[in-house]
Symmetry: C2
């Protein structure tokens, strides 16, 4: 009851589902998805953990809501998932939309992991997909091809991909360590070592974390979009 400065949490504003969801995003942004526990979220909101259950059924429902909020964020930034403008071709419209989604994923690196575990599809996500399908339909796709296209894109449709070789960000292996390691593996893994040697040679600064994620993302995206356009034009 001290009238001291209320720095982070203002206990006066009553809780609401929206405040809970926004709080969850803040917690995950600051501490990673591991920090998003009911207890820590409650702390962040200046409340007891059990109060959250009044606004959200359980943690799964919380995560569902978080994803929905995030997609909503993309929608607002784009000024709504508007119907295709017919001002440009389907491919550039699709590219623009997906890269906008990607920008949000880059701002919330923990989001892909959460999205992957959802079993229900959020209403906002349905609107997003509807918009992508609209772009393809107006661009001359059959529903059948558009359906294949969604599968082919997979998570890339939402602006992220599952990399298999995620370089360990924690271990700051420098170029020298890498070279020693490569030397050792060269016998068993000639092609892998060959690739890494060539790439680190072309770019002296690069180490194991050598990849330009944005460039690789657009390379893969365009590869798929170009392939789809080929099929569309042929049929």
């Amino acid at each position: 009851m001290t009238t001291g400065t209320e720095t982070t949490a203002q206990p006066r504003i009553p809780l609401s589902k929206e405040r809970v969801l926004r709080g969850a995003i803040v917690v995950a942004d600051q501490g990673g998805i591991g920090a998003l526990t009911m207890r820590k979220l409650a702390d962040q909101l200046g409340v007891e953990a059990m109060s959250l259950y009044y606004h959200v059924a359980n943690k799964e429902a919380l995560l569902d809501g978080v994803v929905d909020t995030l997609i909503h964020e993309i929608e607002d930034e784009m000024g709504g998932f508007t119907p295709p403008s017919a001002l440009s071709d389907w491919q550039t419209e699709m590219r623009t939309m997906i890269l906008a989604a990607r920008a949000t994923m880059v701002r919330h690196p923990w989001a892909p992991g959460v999205i992957e575990t959802r079993t229900a599809i959020s209403p906002a996500l349905m609107r997003y997909f509807n918009a992508l399908l609209g772009i393809m339909r107006e661009g001359g796709f059959s529903y059948d091809l558009a359906h294949h296209a969604m599968h082919a894109l997979g998570s890339r449709a939402l602006g992220f991909t599952q990399e298999l070789f995620e370089p360990d960000e924690a271990s700051e292996t420098d170029a020298q360590d890498v070279n020693a390691m490569l030397e050792q593996m060269a016998g068993e893994l000639p092609y892998l070592v060959g690739m890494m040697v060539e790439i680190t040679h072309d770019d002296p600064d690069s180490t194991l974390g050598w990849c330009d994620d944005q460039a690789e993302f657009t390379f893969g995206l365009d590869l798929i979009l170009d392939g789809l356009e080929d099929i569309r034009a042929r049929t």
Copy 2:
């Protein structure tokens, strides 16, 4: 000490890292990844939870080992990740290898989720990648293009993709429910509804879980492989 039948666990065989890892795979296969706790794994092995820590540093290390074992399984099935045979083109070799990996993922549906969370790369996975790179190199790829290719494939290189619209397997929504739902959404989501109507119309049996995963996987895979071949042939 009763000489009764030792049904599941034989406490006589001493624990070993291999037995722990194989046990973990059994537990996950039977009860899903949620069932894979140190305590339940210990039960399965007829041992106390704390005994596991003698053979495995912690749960993260356990999961690292599980992934390594799984890739090893692929390797054994294929008779080793042999160098390219030069008997066929790079594209069919790549396809064969990736579809073999996929078969293992289908047998262990929880595996992709575990693989995604790994931060270290397992030795077996390195051999797998080396083999893929070998196929591409011998097929006429530059290391630069092969590198792009690995990124473009992402998790598809290991036989799985992240779908965004995973139909809820639990809810057995029948065609009638789906139609009612579609009716309701038609105004806001015309393209999404249009696609689903057409697809459920073409195949009267199909519902929300309408997709042939294997067919969609190969469609996306071939789209990427064809695109890569185009680039390779042009340069």
